[in-house]
């Protein structure tokens, strides 16, 4: 257990070091969310400046999702490219432990998106930014971490089990912005699409963070979102455990551990 925890933490530390100099991640985590925030801020400027916090949380969530999606997609495949996947698989540590460390790094770095968006809205655009329910908001932030990590753990083996799936990564970025309710409520979407949102942990994360930051959250709302995130995390973890086994077995049968 301690040995596995050490693998997670060392992977986290070394992955942060590598991501910090990765231009693509800098774009996804810093520049793109800022562009989205600027666009949303200008849309709100004339209408309702008090909703600045909604923009900050929403654009932060876009950064979180972009980072999770792209890193999740390439977590295993990048190791394949580098030739390090064989070293990991042949070690006593499980690949899932390594991917968990990498996903933790992505999620942690992604919170920078929210901080940068906050800085942009409050310092540059001088929006009055207050978090109406700070304690539930920060607890909700903590609950989103396992929800996002488990979602990342689901994405990585899913994309590795079928290499052609990773070609669809770009197409998956924007639908989550919409279905997750990051930038506007899903109530604006047709009813038939709502069940799709309900099975996505990022939707519940966005819902509770928007509600607690704007002060519209009731206790039952908060508990529902936290509960859904935890239940979905459990489901994602169980599915990812099965997927990791399939990925590793298939890679050993098809000889794809060291090739792309």
């Amino acid at each position: 257990m301690i040995a596995n925890l050490r693998v997670v933490l060392t992977t986290f530390e070394l992955d942060v070091k590598q991501q910090a100099v990765d231009l693509f991640m800098i774009f996804g985590v810093v520049i793109q969310p800022l562009l989205i925030a600027i666009m949303a801020i200008y849309m709100l400027l004339e209408r309702d400046p008090s909703r600045g916090i909604y923009v900050v949380v929403g654009s932060g969530m876009t950064g979180l999702w972009t980072s999770l999606l792209f890193r999740g997609t390439f977590n295993i495949n990048a190791e394949r490219f580098m030739g390090t996947l064989e070293g990991i698989v042949a070690s006593p540590s499980s690949l899932a432990t390594v991917v968990m460390g990498k996903t933790l790094a992505s999620v942690t770095l992604s919170f920078l998106s929210m901080i940068f968006s906050y800085g942009l809205a409050s310092i540059v655009f001088r929006f009055p930014l207050t978090i109406a329910q700070p304690l539930p908001f920060f607890v909700s932030l903590l609950v989103t971490i396992p929800a996002f990590i488990s979602f990342g753990l689901l994405i990585s083996p899913l994309m590795a089990v079928n290499l052609s799936l990773s070609g669809w990564v770009n197409a998956l970025e924007y639908p989550m912005y919409i279905l997750g309710g990051f930038l506007f409520p899903i109530l604006l979407l047709p009813d038939w699409s709502n069940p799709l949102s309900y099975v996505l942990a990022p939707y519940w994360a966005a819902r509770v963070l928007h509600a607690t930051s704007s002060g519209s959250a009731t206790l039952s709302d908060i508990l529902l979102s936290w509960g859904m995130m935890l239940v979905l995390s459990g489901i994602y973890m169980a599915a990812s455990y099965r997927l990791f086994r399939i990925v590793l077995h298939r890679a050993r049968v098809e000889a794809t551990l060291s090739m792309m």
Partner: protein, 325 residues
């Protein structure tokens, strides 16, 4: 006791061919091979490119599932007991990949130490010793991307030894190294055997196998064609002489003509810049030379130096793999 036991091990690869009308082609990588490696032995698997050396190593290191047959490492089955084998073995695959280039050498080693669940205090003590062993002391804080190929290969050796494995699989470890680097690495390998490690070495350099291995298996087209001590393998060619000719611009058809000669055993060609070195194995030695020269000159091939010599271990290897080396 045997550290490795291989019985009728076979591996078939499937490749899809075609864009519209796709069909699957089967390629036999390793074809029913059997051998044992004794505990503490330095065993060599020798063969030309594509012979099945790396496939064999990957099956023994649990990275590939065999199509049929069985193999055990330290008594554990490579398919059923992969988790028991992994902490007990180390491996190096030739080449520069397999390291994190954006990280320092020290970070790479620290990471692999954690992956192998090496106690932090033990790793801290072992790191300087290993860096010293592979000649990277003082360079540990530099990023791997700035390392030469030889330095990366030596870092691989340190990585492979971090968890003090009992069995080491070294797949063409000196590939691409300069002569001095290769010699140093061979000394490291000798030292490992002195420490009673079992080493499974693949190479296509005969002299390397001759210098290091107690026994050598020669593999070609996925099958083991000979397994003996280096001295035993040399006996395969004691009846032969080797004629070496330096030629300029020989056509493949002419090489084939030489191969068809009844007195010729094998013919191999090595390209050296503008010229080619032709090596002919024959029982007839120097008596065959005039006939060969006549055929060559008759076909307009310019011939330079001609030598006739006694066979070496490399000649035994060339004979065993049918001139494909």
């Amino acid at each position: 006791m045997n550290a490795i036991e291989v019985r009728e091990l076979r591996r078939v690869f499937r490749a899809t061919i075609g864009t519209i009308r796709r069909h699957t082609k089967e390629v036999v990588g390793v074809d029913s091979i059997s051998f044992d490696v004794r505990d503490g032995e330095l065993f060599g698997l020798l063969g030309p490119n594509g012979a099945g050396k790396t496939t064999t190593v990957k099956m023994l290191t649990t990275l590939l599932i065999p199509t049929s047959g069985s193999a055990t490492v330290l008594g554990y089955d490579v398919v059923r007991d992969a988790a028991a084998i992994r902490p007990r073995i180390g491996f190096i695959f030739g080449g520069e990949r397999g390291l994190y280039w954006r990280l320092s050498a020290k970070d790479n080693l620290r990471y692999f130490a954690d992956l192998y669940h090496v106690d932090r205090d033990v790793a801290r003590q072992r790191l300087p010793t290993l860096l010293e062993l592979v000649g990277l002391s003082g360079r540990e804080d530099e990023k791997v991307e700035g390392f030469s190929r030889g330095m990366r290969q030596r870092l691989h050796v340190a990585r492979c030894l971090l968890h003090d494995p009992q069995v080491l699989f070294l797949d063409e470890p000196t590939m691409g190294l300069d002569p001095v680097g290769a010699r140093e690495l061979r000394q490291v390998i000798r030292n490992l055997v002195a420490e009673e490690k079992t080493v499974f070495l693949t190479t296509h350099y005969m002299f390397e196998a001759d210098a290091l291995c107690e026994r050598v298996a020669v593999i070609n087209h996925g099958r083991i064609v000979a397994l003996d001590t280096p001295e035993g393998l040399k006996r395969h060619v004691k009846d032969l002489s080797v004629i070496e000719l330096e030629v300029f611009g020989i056509a493949p058809e002419m090489v084939e003509t030489l191969r068809q000669m009844a007195e010729v055993d094998t013919v191999s060609v090595e390209n050296r810049d503008q010229k080619q070195a032709i090596r002919i194995h024959s029982q007839f030695g120097s008596t065959l030379v005039p006939g060969i020269l006549q055929r060559m000159e008759g076909n307009g091939v310019r011939v330079g130096r001609v030598t006739v010599r006694e066979p070496t271990l490399e000649d035994a290897y060339v004979r065993l793999v049918g001139g494909e080396a």
